[in-house]
């Protein structure tokens, strides 16, 4: 691919967004980072798998939503499998690189299908630390794919910088396989103890709920998102990147009527601002600016 160009040192936080093979939310994902002040780069998965692009040149690795490889074997399964088994010329898998990436203190985020990939891969919740699947995401209790808006509550005990200072969030869910199943009381207890269940579906009073449609899929712990124990790896079923502006919300017109001075920003954008600011603050402690190369497709 010939669009690669090297940039000089950039102060901007670098977000890498994977695409290809049925991933389809990469454009709004990139827009989210750009609006949050970061540099977003969309690359085809094969550029990473073939070693043309290194994830280590970036601060945040992102798995967008979509239907990777058609999701025919279960959401995210084929992509997770590719990350685990497909080796590049040096005999390394992308999972090897991701482990190193996280060990270096960097961040990984997955939304919807991307979250499913992280779960099927075992990067979430990764209680054992050896990246094997511990929980799963399967068909919604309703048996249907659904697009509807939900309210989320952030687990106040979560240590993830993605969620710092956030309390509630409205976002759309758009999935058929978002029901988190945690089998084994030990696993469940560990997740709760360490507050890895970082987001819950709530009713209109803000209480976590298992009642459809507030909880759209019947997830265990009413859980909409998970982090790993470090808080660096974060995934969620709903789509914060689909609520970047007020005008994404189904009730925007009435809300604007009630309050003409209402912010034009959507709830979802706060999450991206969080992680971008966090990486920037980490940077400020670093001595020299980081070299980064960028690719665009």
């Amino acid at each position: 691919m010939n669009d690669q160009h090297m940039n000089d040192t950039s102060q901007k936080v670098q977000a890498l967004i994977l695409t290809g093979f049925g991933i389809n939310c990469e454009e709004e994902y990139a827009a989210a980072y750009r609006l949050a002040g970061a540099e977003a780069t969309i690359v085809h998965l094969n550029q990473v798998l073939h070693g043309h692009v290194s994830i280590h040149d970036y601060d945040i690795l992102n798995f967008p939503g979509g239907f990777s490889f058609g999701d025919d074997l279960g959401s995210g399964v084929v992509l997770a499998n590719k990350l685990r088994y497909r080796k590049n010329a040096e005999g390394r898998t992308l999972l090897d690189d991701i482990k190193e990436f996280v060990a270096n203190g960097k961040f990984v985020m997955g939304i919807c299908n991307g979250f499913q990939v992280l779960v099927k891969l075992g990067l979430l919740p990764n209680l054992s630390g050896n990246v094997t699947p511990e929980v799963t995401l399967t068909h919604n209790a309703s048996g249907r794919y659904e697009d509807r808006w939900v309210r989320l509550k952030v687990n106040p005990k979560s240590n993830s910088p993605f969620l710092k200072g956030l309390d509630t969030m409205e976002v759309p869910v758009r999935h058929g396989e978002g029901r988190l199943i945690i089998s084994g009381t030990d696993t469940l207890a560990h997740i709760e103890e360490q507050a890895l269940n970082c987001l819950s579906y709530t009713d209109f009073d803000g209480s976590p709920t298992d009642v459809y449609p507030h909880n759209p899929n019947g997830a265990d712990l009413n859980c909409a998102g998970l982090t790993d124990t470090t808080g660096q790896v974060f995934g969620l079923m709903p789509h914060p990147e689909a609520f970047l502006s007020l005008y994404n919300h189904p009730d925007w017109a009435r809300r604007k009527r009630l309050n003409l001075g209402l912010s034009e920003e959507g709830d979802g954008l706060r999450l991206f601002r969080n992680i971008v600011e966090h990486v920037q603050s980490q940077r400020q402690t670093a001595v020299s600016p980081q070299e980064a190369s960028q690719f665009s497709s």
Binding site: M1, N2, T19, G20, F21, G22, N24, C25, E28, A31, L35, H44, N46, Q47, H50, G66, F67, F69, G70, D71, D72, L73, G74, V77, V78, N81, K82, Y85, R86, K87, K120, P133, V135, T136, T138, S142, G143, R144, Y145, E146, D147, R148, W149, P172, R174, I181, F204, A242, F243, L244, Y247, N248, P250, D251, A253, R254, R257, L258, E264, S297
Partner: protein, 1011 residues
């Protein structure tokens, strides 16, 4: 190494909920009356690739099994011991098997081997176990009517002690056989029979023209070393090119029109030319005269194109996929939407970015409980299959389904109508060239991109040009693969921006024959080398390869110098590209297999040789009268029943299964408000994240009114689509010099066979007269509003014939409209925003209850069909645009099915508001409440804007009342309450109407929503 066939079975672990099994048991009981007992569903993967026992086990457990959910069984069919029967659902040879291909992809990764995904090594199947012992006939019924479709699936079933497996073994060696089809001495009856036997769908006159052509060119062919008789491939190409589907012969025909009531007669020089092309030329002239030169491409490519701004084009196309959806609803609909996506993708150079999908569906009553005709599918099954096809086609492609409609009428029970629309954005310039132009020079290479070719979809173009009957061919069925197309789409976007592609077109109806045949007209000829075409499996004859409609393929014209770079990009993105020939300028379409001529056709004859039809139309006004209604009517009850009626009730269960906001740009979605249940008039989508420019999208379709007058039906449908866009804040075009306010409309006519035949179609002349009148209204509407048509389609044979019965659709036209929105933040939604806002009726109500939903409740049709007064409508819409500039309108909902009463109720669904309304004393109450007069709106205005609003609209606005905080809808007339209802109850009736009940969810009253 063991190279025999191996089997992996995935079973849910004990304790895991088997939703699919449960659903099968429930639906079998509910719809088929079969008691299965518990049903266990399992997945089977048959591996026909050499793997060791250890590899098979590890692949199954590491790659296919979800360790939380599944147990794995290898080389056995494991089941609980209490089960008595089984049903295996496999796919027929060549049918798309995305799940099998995905498993194969995973196997390649697991083994770290480059496993070619184009040759199938893994086959996916479903294996069901039933608790009860069912007779063979019942198992077969369950299989064919619930678990699959015999046109695409192979079923095995029986007692569980005797499980038979089936894995497709397609083909049996190459068949490079080309036959000659002698025509020379055939009598008329033999020509007709030949056409029928081969599904050519050519009539006698056309067959004669072909025969005479071959007689005339015999010396020329002899000189070129070709046989005098045509080859099978040549006739197939001619049949495809001349098909009604591709050539629109009836829209080009000379029509002798007679008005039986007045005795007047005149001749129409082609419907398309007279009413569509010429009307748009006139609109374009007016636009350009006023400095509006945004109309870039009309009727001449896969989709129409208008300019958004100096940088980008908006590309818009709507098509139908009716015949395939009648026999395989899921496959028909998914290929419909994916096929329609390829039109904007392959407009001009190609590589537009898809922005949104729409769909409009016409079905029979899904609660039909009569006897079905042979091979007629139940309307509920068609509905569910089509809905699922649109869900997968849109969702898996990452294209939001932002707008749609569902119309029910018993006459759609034979052939449903499935309209699919796609909007896209394309840069004005691609690699320095005008993106909308198609240029090809001799010697440019022909590249086929995307999927492979199989027998699926052979004869689709000709098949859709004839009426359906119980013997309709299985090969006409295709299954789409959204993932294959998504890869090809991503590839096209990148390749066109790098200047690697000169132009592209899609392989839809007619396959390579159509796509290359059409592209070849640009350079003046082509040579195609069919042996290079990659096949799904061997066994296809050359003609089959050329006309197959296997999906997800594009044909590209590529400069020889760009080939290496293009092929490298294809490898990187895993899109199969094959060089299958080159363009020429010698005037011939030259098709070869291994160097032997398979077809050599003169392009002039191929594209212009079809004889023009002459058709007869005769109009007479139907006898109709206004009914006498019961003296006293409870209008609260009427409104409640209307809200729960099939054509008005909520479509939420359908809408929510479509992703309507992927891409993050949907500003007005189908359902809005705090409740997420307020229906909207038009969708609004912004183009990107850098500006607030966007597009409004609407649909107008009113087949009911056609029973009274097809002219007013068509005019009304056009107005409906216009006013929906005006309701959300869109402005009419050309109001001021150079306002750049684009509109782009697609017309889609779907009519029953309208060619008169004394025995088979005795009312054909009247049907054609209705079509003529629909077209006249279209011409008048485009002229009145100065709104151009940019593309469209006609589907002329929407009849289903079986057991001596014919079910014909009512003449139907859909107008799919798009218009520029300067700033999406200024758009307006339908729901009431705040208590004390003042409610107005905009526009005038007439005594026009003919064809209304209100009369329908009483089983009446009436006579007074609603008419569009174009001048008054245009004036009102212009005023509304000005009012919106001053932000005078807080909510706006157009009046359509069910009239004012339904519109008022729907406007309360977004929050918890009510309204108190006083009707003027002019017309009778039922007329004011339920008349479906066009060009009207319910609008609300903030109290502080009332003076300015009333001044602005004058007599065009009627003050009705106020929005109230109390969730009560009260309507008074002459001081007396005539309608009073809780809006929560109304919303409950609407939400729990038949559509949501059938698709499966409804909301109990009291389960309250957002505040």
């Amino acid at each position: 190494m063991d190279s025999t066939q191996r089997t992996i079975q995935l079973l849910l672990k004990p304790g895991q909920h088997d939703g699919e099994g449960q659903r099968v048991a429930e639906v079998a009981q509910r719809h088929l009356g079969l008691t299965t007992g518990r049903v266990q569903s399992t997945a089977l993967y048959t591996v026909r690739y050499p793997v060791t026992d250890e590899q098979l086990r590890d692949f199954a457990t590491h790659c296919l099994q979800d360790p939380v959910l599944h147990d794995v069984a290898l080389d056995e069919f494991r089941h609980e011991p209490t089960y008595k029967s089984y049903i295996l659902v496999a796919k027929l040879p060549g049918v798309t098997d995305d799940e099998g291909i995905s498993a194969q992809n995973a196997l390649g990764d697991f083994l770290n081997q480059p496993l070619d995904t184009h040759t199938q090594h893994i086959f996916s199947k479903r294996l069901y176990f039933l608790e009860h012992e069912l007779p063979a006939a019942d198992l077969r019924r369950l299989a064919e009517e619930l678990l699959g479709n015999k046109l695409i699936n192979r079923f095995e079933s029986g007692p569980i002690t005797d499980i038979r497996d089936y894995t497709p073994r397609p083909g049996g060696g190459a068949e490079s056989i080309t036959n000659l089809v002698p025509l020379t001495n055939l009598a008329d009856s033999e020509l007709v029979q030949l056409s029928k036997d081969n599904l050519y769908a050519l009539n006698l006159e056309e067959m004669r023209v072909v025969r005479d052509h071959y007689v005339a060119i015999a010396p020329e062919r002899q000189a070129a070393g070709l046989p005098a008789d045509p080859t099978d491939c040549e006739l197939e190409i001619i049949a495809q090119t001349w098909s009604e589907h591709c050539k629109h012969k009836e829209f080009s025909a000379v029509i002798k029109y007679k008005d039986a009531d007045t005795g007047e007669e005149h001749e129409i020089d082609g419907l398309f030319k007279t009413y569509i092309k010429n009307a748009t030329s006139e609109v374009d002239r007016q636009l350009r005269a006023n400095g509006n030169d945004w109309l870039i491409k009309v009727f001449s490519d896969n989709a129409g194109a208008v300019r958004i701004n100096p940088e980008s084009l908006f590309v818009w196309k709507v098509e139908t996929h009716n015949s395939p959806s009648a026999i395989d609803p899921y496959g028909g609909a998914i290929t419909g939407i994916l096929g329609n996506n390829r039109d904007p993708l392959a407009t001009g150079i190609g590589g537009a970015r898809l922005l949104f999908n729409t769909n409009v569906l016409c079905f029979g009553n899904p609660e039909f409980n009569g006897t079905l005709l042979s091979n007629q599918l139940h309307p509920r099954r068609i509905f569910e299959g089509v809905r699922k096809g649109i869900e997968d086609g849109g969702n898996k492609s990452g294209v939001p389904t932002v707008n749609g409609a569902i119309v029910f009428d018993d006459r759609y029970a034979g052939k449903p109508l499935v309209y699919c629309g796609t909007g896209a954005v394309m840069p004005m310039q691609l690699a320095g060239l005008d993106s909308w132009e198609k240029k090809i020079d001799a010697q440019d290479r022909i590249i086929m991109a995307g999927g492979r070719v199989g027998k699926d979809g052979i004869h689709g173009a000709t098949f859709s040009s004839i009426e359906l009957d119980e013997t309709s061919p299985a090969t006409a069925v295709q299954i789409g693969s959204p993932i294959t197309q998504k890869l090809a789409m991503d590839f096209l976007v990148l390749a066109t921006r790098r200047g690697l592609i000169k132009c592209s077109t899609d392989n839809g109806a007619g396959g390579l024959s159509s796509s290359i045949g059409e592209l070849a007209t640009i350079s003046g000829g082509a040579v195609v080398e069919l042996e290079k075409v990659p096949l799904k499996y061997p066994g296809l004859r050359p003609w089959e390869i050329f006309v197959s409609e296997s999906q997800e393929r594009f044909s590209l014209a590529v400069e020889p110098a760009k080939m290496d770079e293009l092929l490298a990009l294809g490898r990187e993105m895993e899109v199969e590209l094959t060089d299958i020939g080159y363009f020429t300028a010698d005037g011939y379409l030259d098709v070869r297999f291994d160097g032997d001529s398979v077809a050599r056709l003169n392009m002039e004859f191929l594209h212009n040789g079809v004889p023009r039809k002459v058709l007869e139309a005769e109009w007479s006004k139907p006898q109709a009268a206004e009914p006498t209604l019961p003296a006293t009517t409870d209008y609260t009850d009427v409104l409640t029943r209307l809200l729960g009626s099939l054509n008005i009730c909520s479509r939420e269960s359908v809408i929510r299964q479509y992703d309507h906001e992927v891409k993050g740009r949907t500003i007005i979605k189908p359902l809005m408000g705090a409740t997420g249940q307020a229906p909207q008039d038009a969708a609004v989508v912004r183009f990107n994240f850098e500006s607030w420019e966007g597009v409004a999208v609407s649909n107008g379709i009113l087949p009911r009114f056609g029973d009274l007058d097809a002219y007013h039906m068509s005019a009304g449908a056009f107005d409906e689509a216009v006013r929906q866009i005006v309701a959300v804040g869109g402005k009419l075009p050309n109001l001021s010099y150079g306002d750049s306010n684009f509109w782009s409309v697609n017309d889609n006519f779907c009519v029953p066979d309208s060619v008169y035949d004394a025995t088979t179609n005795p009312d054909g002349k009247l049907k054609l007269a209705k079509l003529v009148r629909m077209c006249e209204a279209l011409r008048d509407a485009t002229a009145a509003y100065c709104i151009p048509l940019t593309s469209g389609k006609d589907s002329m044979k929407n009849d289903f014939k079986a057991d001596g019965v014919k079910i014909s659709v009512p003449p139907t036209v859909l107008y799919s409209m798009t218009a520029k929105i300067e700033d999406v933040r200024q758009t307006i939604t339908s729901d009431f925003k705040q208590a004390d806002d003042v409610v107005y009726l905009l526009g005038e109500t007439y005594d026009e209850l003919g064809g209304s939903e209100f009369y329908q409740l009483f089983g009446e049709l009436g006579a007074n069909v609603p008419q569009v007064r174009f001048d008054k409508a245009k004036e009102l819409y212009t005023l509304m645009g000005q009012a919106n500039d001053q932000h005078l309108i807080q909510s706006c909902h157009d009046l359509s099915d069910g009239g004012l009463a339904v519109a008022l109720a729907e406007a309360t669904f977004g929050h918890g508001y009510g309204a108190t309304v006083d009707l003027p004393e002019s017309l009778p109450v039922h007329v004011q409440l339920f008349s479906e007069s066009h060009s009207r709106f319910v609008a609300t205005v903030a109290p502080e804007d009332v003076v300015a609003f009333e001044q602005h609209f004058g007599a065009r606005a009627t003050r009705l009342g106020v929005v109230t905080p109390d969730s009560q809808l009260t309507v008074r007339h002459a001081g007396q309450p005539v309608l009073a209802a809780s809006t929560a109850v109304l919303r409950h009736e609407w939400t729990n109407g038949p559509v949501n009940r059938i698709i499966g969810f409804g909301q109990p009253v009291g389960e309250e929503s957002a505040r």
